[in-house]
Symmetry: C2
Subunit: 334 residues, 2 copies
DNA sequence: GAGACAAATGTAAACGTTTACATATCAGTT
DNA sequence: AACTGATATGTAAACGTTTACATTTGTCTC
């Protein structure tokens, strides 16, 4: 592969010094118009492109944000990325994405290899067993934590109103007359899931309803686990009248299971989800959910991070909560 | 922000030269065990991380793939990214994504600013007005074109079997007895859309059915445009008995429009889409579609690119076609 | 004990930029 | 004609690595 033109080639060809070429490329005002034009001509003739790595090395800026997500599957994460990208590109930043699969070691090597390639990081680590990694980050390096458990260790953080959203949904179901409200949980170590669980239990308690272990089915945020969980719930002697899945993917799986069990939704069993992914309004029946403006979550994280990058000194730590909103559709009998 | 430990700090602290530290970090065998351990201890105590940009500058490798997509919206693109990321991480590569919004100028600055930050590019440019940009890429730079029109200009290319997929779907509808088959097109300048159009017309021709302009409704691959187009088709004096939308998002929009027009699917009008996004099987009725293994498309593109990066010399240009498969569900009356 | 060879480590150049500082040129002022 | 100040340009160091080559040390062979 023919090595490409460098600033030196352009300088020699244009009969100026590398400093002048650099000034032209960076739109410095200290260049005579004639010189500028000559340099630009040579640059375009030679197909010169400034080398990003070299530039980063000396300026200590990469114009790139690193994003680490637990997974890249499904509409939730794609919406997050979209939001981040929008906010980043507006400021001329690139986005480098990666999924960690919530594995501690892999996450660590990921972070290592991003060092010197990004100006800051957005970390979405709902797995509370892994979230401790945040403490190993170099001090003073711009980081925004999204949906991470508890201690932010001096970093900015954004969280969803998981507790409030779940509480509101359960409260709504109670208002509709439901007394046996089952849930499909997420993994025990998932922070979002555990917060939603808190919200569910609190809502029951506040309505003086008993918490019954058999109504708390296990799940892992995958559609398949939702299917399994709902199939199990449908077989209970004392069947719940409502199922609140802790995300939409599981709710969709639950709808399939209930259909196969010949149970009508919402007449026999009401169903609700969480996230309000785009698909939610198109399933049959349309799915009630706890709406989250997912791309706004991403955009907000990016904006926070860009702020931290551009004003490194003396900032106070920001903690933000992104609100949720109840969206009632036919699946819970509106 | 306190500048972080560099290789020099580690070297001084460990009482060795920078070369030795470098060798340790790169797992070179030419280091005595004692020295290696001492260096590693110091490195971890100082929190040393090799600087990516510096490393890239000297090695001329970034371990990063650049991906340019027309958009980041919807399940199609998120699946592509997932496939790319999977294949890339398997080889220890990062992925830097960006959406171009199909704007020629923006695309160009994107490409410029990625120079020196990526080892190769995956370009998905269905807009045939913009695809000419491929010719401006530095010769010999690894590039894989995905869904780009015609001339690949010496680059590897992957395309969907758009023509064949559309042909098969229309043929299927004809077999089902449909004679007035409408379509919802994509933008005129969209390559995928124009190929699907070719397939549609060929299938009609081969079945000796007339091509009627009023059955070719305009669309732009968005759900809203599908809604509008279907609403228009439903009002035709001589209504089509089947509507084939050129992607699933528009098909979903069409379903909404038909429901509002009080037309039953598939009894009054059959509906089909293209892409078979995950949502397709969950809408009501489940949507027939032309299945594309989207993440495999992304994975394949990444694999091809990695091949070109790792074996730069004497490779012949690869052109691959990713096959499609008919998926018949209830929306077209199976 | 000299020579040869291997193993371990060090020295320094290179990668392609940016930028502080130095220098050159020139118009205007005295 | 010397000085001033502004404007344009050049020189060279720096960024943090890798790596070709040189050097040192130790072991083995004769």
């Amino acid at each position: 592969m023919a090595r490409n033109a460098t600033i030196k080639h352009v300088a020699r060809e244009a009969g100026v010094s590398v400093a002048t070429v650099s000034r032209v490329m960076n739109h410095s005002v200290l260049v005579a118009d004639g010189t500028r034009q000559a340099v630009l001509d040579v640059a375009s003739r030679l197909g010169y492109r400034p080398h990003g790595a070299a530039r980063s090395l000396i300026t200590n800026r990469t114009s790139t944000l690193g994003v680490l997500l637990p997974d890249l599957y499904g509409e939730f994460f794609s919406e997050v990325i979209r939001g981040i990208d929008q906010a980043a590109r507006r400021e001329g930043y690139h986005v480098i994405v990666s999924s960690s699969h919530s594995d501690h070691h892999e996450l660590e090597t990921m972070l290592r290899s991003m060092w010197g390639r990004v100006d800051g990081l957005i970390l979405m680590i709902p797995d509370i067993r892994v979230a401790t990694i945040a403490s190993q980050l170099p001090a003073g390096f711009p980081v925004v934590l999204v949906n991470c458990a508890g201690d932010t260790n001096g970093h900015d953080a954004i969280n969803l109103a998981n507790y409030e959203g779940a509480y509101a949904m359960v409260q709504h179901l109670i208002t509709q007359g439901h007394r046996r409200i089952a849930i499909i949980r997420g993994a025990d170590w998932n922070y979002d899931a555990s917060e939603r669980l808190r919200g569910y239990r609190a809502a029951l308690r506040d309505a003086a309803l008993p918490a019954e272990p058999e109504l708390e089915a296990a799940g892992d945020f995958s559609e398949g686990s939702g299917y399994e969980a709902a199939a199990g719930l449908a077989r209970l002697r004392s069947r719940p009248t409502a199922i609140f899945a802790f995300n939409d993917a599981m709710a969709v799986g639950a709808l399939s299971a209930l259909r196969e069990a010949k149970l009508r939704v919402p007449e026999d069993v009401a169903v609700a989800g969480f996230d309000d992914i785009p698909m939610a309004r198109y399933v049959e029946p349309p799915l009630s959910s706890v709406h989250v403006d997912i791309s706004a979550l991403g955009a907000r994280a990016a904006t926070l991070l860009l702020g931290a990058i551009q004003h490194p000194d003396g900032r106070e730590i920001r903690r933000e909560i992104v609100p949720t909103a109840l969206v009632v559709r036919r699946s819970c009998g509106s």
